[in-house]
Amino acid sequence: MLKVDTEKCTGCGECEESCTFDAIFVKDGVAVVDHDVCTLCGICVDGCPEGALELHVEAGAFATDLSSWKGIWVVAECRGGDLASVTLELLAKSRELAAELDAEVTAVLMGQGIESKARELIFHGADRVLIVDHHELATFTDEVYGNILADLAKRERPEIILAGATAMGRSYIPRVATILETGLTADCTGLDIRSEDKALLQTRPAFGGNLLATIVCPEHRPQMATVRPHVMKANAPDPGRKGEVIRIVPRKSLLGHKVQVIESVKEQAEGPNLSEADIIVTAGRGFEQEKNVELARELADLLEGTVGSTRAAVDAGWLSSRTQIGQTGVTVSPKLYIACGVSGAIQHIVGMQGSEIIVAINKDAEAPIFDVTTYGLVGDVKEILPLLIKRIQKERGL
């Protein structure tokens, strides 16, 4: 409950200005709260120059009328002028969920100069697109993106919010969930609707994929999840699809940020990024020398894949730490994973065992990597890779 300290309140009207719900106004020189309308968003509390407002949160204060939250939101991500593939994957999944909930699918798109992407979102499944196009959104900051999304969600009350479990999504979506005081399930690989109560069933791996858990958010809304890229399938665009585009002008108070972006650098040296690659060729200790790692690059290029590494290969200085797959690196789940000269320490396995097809090439037939592989080749990578490269080139008529 929002409380006004009538001793401190000077009736200045700042709170009345800031409230998006007309839930607080000045009467007879003092702020009065309309508790039926107030959503406890706290904007007025932060803005009160006298510190006269306070949110009292009691047990059950968040217990919300669940039926007043409607619709599915997909938080679109735009990187380097293109929509992230996970955004399109989420739109396809949302259409399935929406059919069970009889709900609308709304895409939320933030950035600068992104208007042209609205059509694409509609073609891929959005019924509505909320566009926030502003120069302050040209570069991503957790504070501004988070504040705007949280503010929109408070006003529009979606039942479900889905975002990509990308570096960006996993960074600012937790902020949004915390502001909204609701649950958030990280890095989901499965989403479904429970038939009896229409709850969102969110399945995610834990312990590096050794355990799977299905999670619900029973009494809080929205139900929020970040979803691992590449697990769900996008629909082909349907240029016949129609949708509504709504332009949102963000309030100034939401645009303040304390983190300044000095420089953004792209490093695209090793092919497509690891978490979105269909094919990954990983180099481990078995390459013995830096020059041999070229074989992994050659194979990756040939397959239009990307190169990954183990801790050993990073420590040896052959590949940069951003290519490291495993517990303290990146978790990947491509269609094809080729582990070359990788022994298969558990710390590496947990980062790649979700891959569809796993191929391992190792000298040691007893190496633990073979426990999780689909196809195993026993031999020296320096001998096998050149043969494999030649064979694929022949296959492709090169």
Partner: protein, 262 residues
Amino acid sequence: MNIVVCIKQVPNAKTVRYDTEKGTLVREGVEAIINPFDFHALEAGLHLKDAYGGEVTVLSMGPPQAENALRESLSLGADKGVLLSDRAFAGADTLATTYTLAKAIEKLGPVDLVLCGKQAIDGDTAQVGPGLAARLGLPYVTCVNALSVMDDEKTIQVRRINEDGYDILELEMPALLTVLASINTPRLPSLKGKMMARKTEIPIWDAEGIGAKPSMVGLTGSATRVVSTWVPTFEARREMFGGSAEEQVDALVSRLKAAGIL
């Protein structure tokens, strides 16, 4: 510089076994370690303390035995350890965890920098850092792998890694960062540190001690509920090719063609 490092005690992946029948992990015989990312957060804090002075406080929420993780941190050079332990904290999701940690940090007093690992290797959520920053009203940056303090000793410059490259960002303290393993190489405990760790008293704070509302901690304060867990099984899909290198390569190519990849 007052630095708080949040750490979590987690099961060592090497010693964990899984019960495929019950769909849970077998807790017996599991070694408890400091979450690997948190070692790097601690090292980042100790490194700043070495350069700029101040104090490093290590904070952990967990069962009583999580005290071991705090003692280990003290042996590495942390000045203080605080254990948040209370039955009421049990079953906390990230919403309840960030609330509890925030209440404890508020009790610790003014802080310049809060450091967390990027994620814990058991839950893998990566949500506590950003959520805690939101609770504390601090600016934050996740996935940091380089950190330096500017001449004014108030502004920090950090490098944030993303899928396509990296960003260089500046922010003023107080702030919160979550760090990657590539940010540094953690030090080893010193003899002096080990002695200090044995002697230092580690206070245990409960819900009442940090002024936490019972409705907002542990399972009661959690928005999410686990419905079921299971252990994924790898169907017997392993095929080892035999024969010469050429024969093995041929076998692989034919399988990949059948799978529609080649």
